[in-house]
């Protein structure tokens, strides 16, 4: 089928210069700089951040691949 008639969208593109390895949207190394000094178990905070960040990664890549 031919394409949809759509309103043109020309996004301004302030692509952040963040290195995003596969599986990552916002790396822990960047996130930890925004947090106050971690008083408890830093590994736990990192692990949970990375697990949830991976969901955001899967969201956009699943939009691309599956939907």
């Amino acid at each position: 089928m031919s394409g949809p008639a759509v309103e043109e969208k020309q996004p301004r593109i302030p692509v952040e210069m963040v290195r995003r390895p596969p599986g990552t949207c916002f790396p822990w190394e960047e996130k930890v700089r925004e947090l106050p000094p971690i008083q408890g178990d830093e590994k736990l905070v990192q692990q949970i951040w990375e697990e949830i960040d991976t969901l955001a990664y899967l969201y956009i890549w699943q939009c691309l691949l599956s939907f």
């Binding site: 089928m1 394409g3 593109i13 995003r20």
Partner: protein, 398 residues
């Protein structure tokens, strides 16, 4: 679950896995790729199974209960248009909205000048694929999503909340569906996980096929670099979504790699290197790929033969399955090869005759799984699927 059902499940799992490893099981496994066929069988419209995944799941269960199949995809009408509508994805024609309720969903490719990725954006994609998708691609394919720097809107926020929660709900529901298939039907899920070739992603969702064809001549090095930039991400998604037990293959759905979309020379240069790398990396981790060779792929068999033994299950669509068996049969399990036009227009006797020819020609030493050539939609006759199933059960015994 009854002991009898679990025994049936284990028998079917062993049969399916043995064949996929190119071995000889007790009989030829049957794993039909049935999409809108399930709706026809269960009495649903295309709109119902596409827009309400619960009905799609129910349709698969009804088929799995009634046909003696070893494995089936838990939902082959995979694009849940409830989700795509909720987030405003603009590249689908949805049954019941854009199309009559009895027509399967369609993918809409935009005109070349409105491709979702512009020809001068390769460097952005190559530098940061995930950032490009969120910042550039998503606002273009979802009108409700605003670009970075634009004023935010409630509709933008809602798109992410709806999309994230709906996607979670949908994928979680697959877990229950797999359990239902096992406990109620004794049937194995045919696949786990998703993979696409980097070149196909560029063609399908970014540059469009026509735009990409121009790029092959105008900026070929950028196309190669873009495939290389996408490949580690496509590998990562395949790994994250694959079967943790490493028994089921990741589904690889290929669109533009075959003749006549690409010449063999273009295939060798642009399509194959990154896809080969992904498949080899998956196989290093023991994960097989269901290599769904949609269209005519026989001119590319010499490259596919380079893959490690057993790393793929090669699904035959329009290629000559006997030639495929001659070239690849020693290394890989094959599936498919029963023409869809025969299943839609032929008689049960025609179907049985063709199944016999295929079983005699390619399945004698194992390493074959019975299926249609391409995914079965609602034009497939129920009596012909029954004939394919019953004949294979009777004749396909080792």
């Amino acid at each position: 679950m009854s002991e009898e059902m679990e025994k049936l499940y284990q028998e079917r799992l062993a049969r399916y896995v043995t064949a996929m490893r190119n071995g000889k099981p007790d009989r030829v496994p049957i794993r039909p790729f049935v999409a809108e066929f399930t709706a026809k069988y269960a009495g649903f419209t295309c709109q119902e199974v596409t827009h309400d995944y619960r009905k799609a799941f129910e349709a698969v269960i009804r088929c799995a209960r009634d046909f003696d199949w070893d494995a089936v995809v838990p939902n082959m009408v995979y694009v849940w248009t409830g989700l795509t509508t909720a987030i405003g994805l603009r590249y689908y024609a949805v049954p019941g909205i854009d199309l009559p309720a009895d027509k399967p969903f369609q993918y809409l490719e935009p005109p070349e000048e409105r491709a979702f990725m512009r020809p001068d954006e390769y460097d952005l994609l190559i530098a940061d694929p995930t950032g490009y998708l969120y910042n550039v691609w998503l606002p273009r394919v979802c009108p409700e999503v605003v670009s970075p720097g634009e004023p935010n809107t409630m509709r933008n926020n809602l798109s992410f909340v709806r999309g994230g929660m709906a996607m979670m709900q949908y994928f979680d529901a697959f877990g229950s569906q797999v359990e239902r298939l096992r406990h109620q039907c004794g049937v194995v899920p045919a696949l786990a996980g998703i993979l696409k070739a980097p070149f196909d992603i560029l063609a399908d969702k970014l540059r469009g096929y026509k735009g990409l064809c121009m790029d092959l001549y105008r900026q070929p090095a950028k196309v190669e670099k873009a495939c290389e930039a996408l490949a580690p991400h496509l590998l990562k998604v395949a790994l994250l979504t694959s079967d943790p037990n490493k028994q089921l293959p990741v589904g690889l759905w290929m669109h533009r790699g075959c003749m006549p979309f690409l010449s063999p020379q273009q295939f060798e240069r642009f399509y194959w290197p990154t896809l080969k790398w992904i498949i080899e990396e998956l196989w290093k981790q023991g994960i097989q790929v269901l290599f769904y060779a949609e269209g005519e792929w026989n001119p590319n068999l010499k490259w596919i033969a380079q893959l490690p033994e057993k790393s793929i299950i090669y699904h035959v669509d329009r290629g000559d399955i006997f030639e495929v068996h001659h070239v690849l049969g020693e290394k890989f399990c094959l599936s498919g090869g029963i023409p869809n036009d025969l299943l839609a227009l032929g008689t049960p006797d025609d179907v049985k005759e063709h199944c016999k020819k295929v079983i005699d020609g390619v399945a004698r030493d194992g390493g074959y799984i019975m299926d249609a050539s391409a995914i079965m939609q609602d034009d497939t006759k129920i009596e012909n699927v029954r004939a394919m199933t019953e004949f294979t059960r009777q004749y396909g015994v080792y």
